[in-house]
Amino acid sequence: MTSLATKIKLYAEANGISNLDFRKDVIVKDFSDGTGAKITEWNIDSLAQPTSEQLASYNSAATTEENNNAIRATRKNSYGNIGDQLDLIYKDIVAGKLDTTGEWAKKIKAIKDANPKE
């Protein structure tokens, strides 16, 4: 199930507001009482707080957004640390393979192919 916050983010982006701060601009709380998450503070003067219907229209997009975020996280972990990647690139340079035939490029492509975004 997608989070209310992700749908709010997409709603805000669709209305020209990016980089929402969910610690200041909008506060979403889940009191773990079985009633789900709620907007407890809406501090964006330039944009009206969305209705439930407006937010529901972002259900599918929010699911895609969160799935893709999970894929990004998986890919990031698989890429390994930056030092190791730079070492791989350096070796490709020395070998004259700073293109899609290089080891670094092949590794990155394999990870992306194994973890496609929606």
Binding site: S3, L4, A5, T6, I8, K9, F22, R23, I27, V28, K29, D30, F31, S32, D33, A37, E65, E66, N67, N69, A70, R72, A73, K76, N77
Partner: protein, 280 residues
């Protein structure tokens, strides 16, 4: 010290109960039918047959027994025996004249020691701004209760960018029964300073930002910890000593902005919300 007039005499001068002479040298001294033990023979004036006797030679004393140097007969007359005071009875001292130096320094250490904590109604002497008073032990003892500890029962999902009340549903202990493991809120039982400790662990190897907050019901955070996580770090902890007011209500929220939901790990080792009173 010189005196004008008669020097005041302090002591317990006692005329012993009458003694009847008989064919024995030994007589038990009594006062009011109770055996009387003088400090020594020198503390007694003894008159026998109208003659004052010399202590130590004409008579001696051992405990309450006065012994003449030889046995008397029923024809003799013990006129009187006067005890010239008991040095242990010095009368009633005037107010405020007994100094520390006059007290034996083992008046505490020589007494029987309590082997358990004192009862609440046991009393101690205390100087209240220079005035000696007694005080019940209950008023000065330090007790770190009320206290409780609870953990998450099973993994709990925390949605992206959502301050989620952490469901500490399993209590380790709750002395005072002030924590509600149904709504996960703790009601401050008495106004005091408390130590509050929280441990949480996210089940994620991703890089993300998290925060935990102690939230005062109805007003907002009183304490918050933010933390950036990488693949090697998924825990977040917070400890605070706070002055809290009775009847106020607190709970814990967890927050993360990974882009999706992450579970809080619901086991004993990696989740805990505990509070105990430090001092009133």
């Amino acid at each position: 010290m010189a005196y004008i007039g008669r020097e005041p005499q302090i002591g317990n001068y006692v005329v012993m109960d009458a003694l009847s002479a008989s064919a024995t040298a030994d007589y038990t001294l009594q006062s009011g039918s109770t055996n009387f033990i003088p400090e020594s023979a020198n503390h007694l004036i003894v008159s026998l047959n109208g003659v004052i006797q010399k202590p130590g030679s004409s008579f001696t004393v051992a405990g309450a027994v006065l012994s003449f140097s030889s046995a008397l007969t029923s024809n003799d007359s013990i006129d009187f025996v006067i005890a010239l005071g008991n040095v242990l009875d010095i009368g009633t001292p005037s107010d405020g004249v007994i100094t520390n130096a006059k007290l034996a320094q083992d008046i505490i250490s020589s007494e029987t020691a309590l082997t358990d904590a004192p009862a609440d109604t046991d009393e101690l002497l205390i100087s209240d701004a220079g005035t000696l008073k007694r005080i019940d032990y209950s008023l000065i003892k330090t007790v770190n209760t009320p206290m409780f500890s609870a953990r998450i029962s099973s993994n709990q999902s925390v949605a992206n960018n959502t301050a989620t009340t952490v469901a500490f549903a399993t209590e380790h202990y709750d002395i005072g029964s002030d924590f509600n493991n149904s709504d996960y809120k703790w009601t401050v039982p008495e106004t005091a300073k408390y130590l509050m400790n929280i441990r949480l662990a996210f089940d994620s190897s991703a890089e993300f930002y998290s925060a935990l907050s102690i939230v005062k019901d109805g007003t907002g955070d009183i304490y918050s910890v933010q933390m950036g996580h990488d693949e090697a770090s998924d825990s977040i902890t917070g400890t605070v000593i706070a002055s809290l007011t009775a009847t106020h209500v607190y709970y814990i929220t967890a927050y993360q902005s990974s882009g999706g939901s992450i579970n809080l790990i619901g086991n004993e080792q990696q989740s805990e919300f505990s509070v105990f009173k430090l001092i009133s």
